[in-house]
Assembly symmetry: C2
Homo-oligomer: 355 residues x 2
Amino acid sequence: MFAKIHSPSTSAKRATIADVAREAGVSKATVSRFLNHRDKLLTKEIATRVDVAIAALAYSPSPMAQALKRGRSRLIGLVVADVTNPFSVAVLRGAEKACQEAGYLLMLFNLGNDSRRESEAIKTLTAYQVEGFILNTLGRDAGAAADAARHGKPVVLVDRRHQDMLADFVSLDNAGAVRLGAQHLVESGYRELLFVSEPVKDVSSREERKAAFRGFISESATGISSLRGSTFESTAEDAEAALDNALRSLRQRAGEQRPPGVLSSNAVVTLRVVAAMARLGWRLGTDIGLVGFDDTEWSPYVGPGLSTIAQPTNELGRIAAGCLIERLKGLELPPRQILLSGRLMPRGSSVSTPT
Amino acid sequence: MFAKIHSPSTSAKRATIADVAREAGVSKATVSRFLNHRDKLLTKEIATRVDVAIAALAYSPSPMAQALKRGRSRLIGLVVADVTNPFSVAVLRGAEKACQEAGYLLMLFNLGNDSRRESEAIKTLTAYQVEGFILNTLGRDAGAAADAARHGKPVVLVDRRHQDMLADFVSLDNAGAVRLGAQHLVESGYRELLFVSEPVKDVSSREERKAAFRGFISESATGISSLRGSTFESTAEDAEAALDNALRSLRQRAGEQRPPGVLSSNAVVTLRVVAAMARLGWRLGTDIGLVGFDDTEWSPYVGPGLSTIAQPTNELGRIAAGCLIERLKGLELPPRQILLSGRLMPRGSSVSTPT
DNA sequence: TTGTAAGCGTTATCAA
DNA sequence: TTGATAACGCTTACAA
């Protein structure tokens, strides 16, 4: 016969509260009290008897049964648009840490960039009695998040706002970060600026960044007459030609004297721009300037080093989880918006050029 | 007063099976039967009545209650050493997909590289009645995984073996992949080879790769007399000097004629080597050759493009989940080892040099 | 074919 | 201070 990997025969069933009660010679209620109120209400003698019984049987209560009875599961649902996105992973890490410290467990649901699955995610997680949600999703399906709220579960939004959603919101200060990057390009001598992002659609963070870029240009153009800016929305990798053309005409507009500067709205787009540079044979920092959102461990080593705007990703996750846990503890406040500042990491891709 | 974000008053409690039964004018058992055996056992008329009641109340069964009753939770525990590791994320993605298709939900537990928390992870997940485990961890804590098996839960190991662990094992064919990379370096003209890995400790994949490298050298040295190989274990970034020295003496050994070649054992190490190159002022592909494990989206853009050995990461995750689900369905086989081949992605960092 | 009732492992309400 | 007992939402014998 085959060697069994796991023999159900061996599978010593987990000890239950009844087992402990029997072992200690007390009632289930007593054991439960010991568990929940420690020994506040118990005789020292009984308490220790229960204690040793628990140790002897290696008993630990079933969260399932507790959830069923209490209606609370110590579970928090985290829905991310795409686990592949380093930003999401960083948030996940931060959130996870905070949850663990507060005795919650994260249940992850990954949309795999399919925003239609958002309501499925919420539904599934609600079924598992999660006590609240951290959402890093498009929120296109307006009903989804609203559903969660309707079930009386608090929600925290990360990075992307949802329409009409009364919920805490934790995010990078996009406007400030864009100014940081654009200002840096200007100070480095670039005058013809291009903002490249993924299709804006209804993603709030993309909208905000684009709008901030336009705002920056129109504000600054009064002081620096030569300053000009435009925007480009880059689709998936298969539309390389469009990006190449946009960059070519950008460089033409910039003229011979000065190279143009690009501000890219996230790491994915940055990589697309870098790829375009390679195709066009342009040198970063010399033929064109580049500053990109999201600092990664590889940023220093691409070309002459990529200048980036670093997001406090772990913090974002930690704070998001923190907000949620506060609500779970009963805090009642109007929805908060918590915006964290980005940090400029200047590197070779935006070296200053002579005027 | 503050605007409440979620008003417990509004929180329309989820409908229960009892609600549905009342609405349809039948017993709970009938509803349960409808749910589990569809209408096999029910009158058409009753079936439709139940059906509309379910729809009307937007009822869906509570997995918690089901788990409690059945002892099965439709949950699979995934423990990863470090979510920050792109490899782990890819596995996560693959596994998640397979699980979802089979109607399971993944519960993620991230060790944050703290291997001492492994037994905590297993314990927590067991408490939540997960039906099986996918483990991508060190397995140092021999008891941890064994615990899982003792509870009668099937286990699948990904990338890293555990000692004495009777479990399915899914991994890259490390030996083959090392040969692929080393052979490529040799064919590109490099003769003085260095294998750089993280501290081997007891991580099986690291051991296997290192051993395979040594094996390759001793096998090939008979045919190519000038071929020589050595190994170096790189610790965290703070020990840069040691790596720099190792590389310097490597280049010295290689002599003026030919540059030396480096095979790095994962993406983190590759980045360390690239950083060292930058510090030393060496050009990749010219002053030194480099092939690294793990192909990433940024590999093509670092230096002249990094040559890599791509792992079929999504596949690994998918297969791992598949194995587990087969076991859950009752398959009994001796432990399997499933090894997938790596693929060489040659790029500029290992351009062939004239003899 | 349908209903009744017991029980999964907890906690909470009552008495004692 | 402790112990029965009911209930949480579901499944499953067993009866009808």
